[in-house]
Subunit: 369 residues, 2 copies
């Protein structure tokens, strides 16, 4: 995957150091870990980072920026995405200190730090850039299904819930394709993906009328690549983010989808709403795409971060048998089974005997035709 | 329906005088017609307005504002919603003239006229308000399904496409309920509805992460009313606006939906994508709501504006037989059949023998369970 120029990054994760709250931190450490020189979190300072995030061995957790002065960090990256995206008041002091040290500020909050008078003034004074990753570009067009029928093999990761592995799934499939010598590109659509690659667009910050258009533009910009893996967002049944999910589906017009799921998760995040059965989730995604462009869920990426190897293996088998689709945990078992399935799918897209069973579909036998 | 203080309105519809392009004009004339003193459109000046919009008999179409000076208009209302919502350059002169006459400017464009330096300066000078209807309020929360299980009978209009009658359907059902002595309220969610009622919120202008939250807030604000009719937006299969549609569904958590459709329309607006069969559209809406809150499509509102009475009657019968649901054209035949159906539905919500057949549902018989 293309990554930006090497930096010396400190990640701010004050008080929220778990793999879900600090998913931006976890993503940046996973894919740009060699650039991360430390993590700011007073409540866990001195403890081993990989115990919290599953990644980041050897990266120190510190209480104050000055503890890292010796390694001359040049970027403070906000590693947490609080729901609603506002700036917790306690972070102000830390951001001020970073600017005063001449560090670039990278933020994915909805609240635009560059528009904050104190930060803006201080940044000017110290010649520092504040990069608000979620600031949408001007002049995004309305989506019009222009990404339909592109030559590329477009694949979108979708999820049974938000915050479940859609970004990692897309990145790992991209990497696996490249290992096979394919021309594959990853299209980030969220703040963490943009921070990892230095490209893309956080579509959840776009005005709702233009989200499909933003997704469409991102995909069309990659025309010419053989494989385009688009990072999914939200969850089709999640009452907070389902609109973003559907706009991304209809804007990016994937020819195939990969469903991401965490076997131990019972409820949609931040709600008391049970996650529906996977069969229903597969069916709704395929049904929603059908009138725009036929698209199948061709595999499942399980997030087994809270399971043992043995449990993870058992879950993979269970879901495989239930859905009759290839299943893997991309972190633990690799993305090869998904890329295998995608290659088979794209080689014989319209052949019903290709091993791709007819999709689960919308049917209404209870009412007369 | 509650309407704001009476005004003397001129509608700007320059060059776009048809019932779809000028839907804001048509909506405002339909429900605030007694306040409209004229319509600005050089290309159709002098012609009878109702020939273009089906409403507005007696309202003059003029080329220049000065032709209306005698009736002292006090509001210029932009009556067109160009796709993308930018300001056509030719309108600038007309808006300047209106401000110079001391007229309030009401706009539903995405481009915020109040932020335009020339308009803003001029408005200050003339003590005139520029009301950008689409400017979202600050501090919209994230949606969390908080409108689930409200006591009210919440009804959302949904559509086979955008621009097909969802606002009018919701207003007409509200009015019909009130005629029956019910405590019913209309919740506008788009610019025209907001212009008609002076309340509500244009949710398509909200940042996508917050659209469901905006819809949720609008509905929760009406707690205490017996009936809440929410204006739908977009179309669940429309590649431009489907995200707004789904966010509105999951945010407003309707207990029932009414499907709006135009029998003569074959393709999703501005696209070459055929409108799917109504059965499929009913099924997808019910399937998308199921995990959040069970919600049924209990009737269909047909927009027969381009059919004769006889043709309209035949279409109503045809769709009724096909879907086994009550159907009407609310403008031609009234909303009573829909309100009848809703009353029956809410009186016996969980009784399978109530006459409400099991919904079309997501089923996947082709794959093993």
């Amino acid at each position: 995957m293309t990554t930006p120029v090497k930096r010396r990054i400190v990640i701010l994760a004050e008080g929220k150091l778990d793999v879900f709250s600090a998913k931006t931190a976890a993503g940046v450490i996973r894919y740009r870990g060699d650039e991360v020189v430390g993590l700011l979190d007073r409540t866990h300072a001195g403890q081993p980072l990989e115990g919290f995030l599953g990644v980041g061995r050897g990266i120190p957790i510190v209480s104050e920026l000055r503890e890292l002065d010796a390694v001359k960090p040049d970027m403070l990256l906000i590693g947490i995405a609080p729901s609603g995206g506002q700036l917790p008041p306690s972070w102000r002091r830390l951001i001020v200190q970073a600017i005063e040290r001449g560090m670039e500020i990278v933020s994915g909050l909805h609240a635009m730090l560059g528009d904050d008078p104190e930060f803006a003034e201080l940044a000017r004074k110290h010649g520092v850039r504040i990069w608000d990753v979620r600031r949408p570009p001007e002049d995004i067009p309305i989506g019009l299904g222009r990404a339909r029928n592109m030559a590329a093999r477009t694949v979108l990761t979708v999820g049974s819930d938000c915050n479940i592995g859609k970004k990692i799934g897309a990145i790992e499939m991209t990497e696996e394709c490249r290992r096979r010598g394919r021309d594959a590109v990853f299209v980030p659509t969220g703040q963490t993906g943009v921070m990892i690659t230095g490209r893309g667009l956080a579509i959840d910050r776009v005005i709702s009328d233009f989200v499909a258009g933003a997704a469409e533009s991102l995909v069309l910009a990659e025309q010419g690549h053989d494989w385009i893996f688009v990072e999914g967002q939200g969850g089709i049944f999640h009452p907070s983010f389902s609109g973003v999910t559907l706009a991304l589906m209809h804007g990016s017009c994937p020819k195939a989808m990969v469903l991401c799921h965490q076997p131990t998760r019972r409820f949609l995040r931040h709600t008391q709403i049970p996650i529906p059965p996977l069969r229903e989730i597969v069916a709704i995604h395929e049904a929603l795409m059908r009138p725009i462009q036929v698209s199948r869920v061709v595999g499942v990426a399980l997030n087994c971060c809270d399971l043992t190897d043995e449990q993870a293996g058992a879950e993979v088998k269970r879901v495989e048998q239930g859905l009759q689709l290839p299943v893997t945990d991309v972190i633990r078992f690799g993305a090869a089974p998904l890329v295998d399935a995608l290659e088979r799918y794209f080689e014989t897209p319209s052949d019903p005997a290709s091993g791709f069973a007819p999709s689960l579909s919308l049917r209404g036998p209870e009412r007369p035709p």
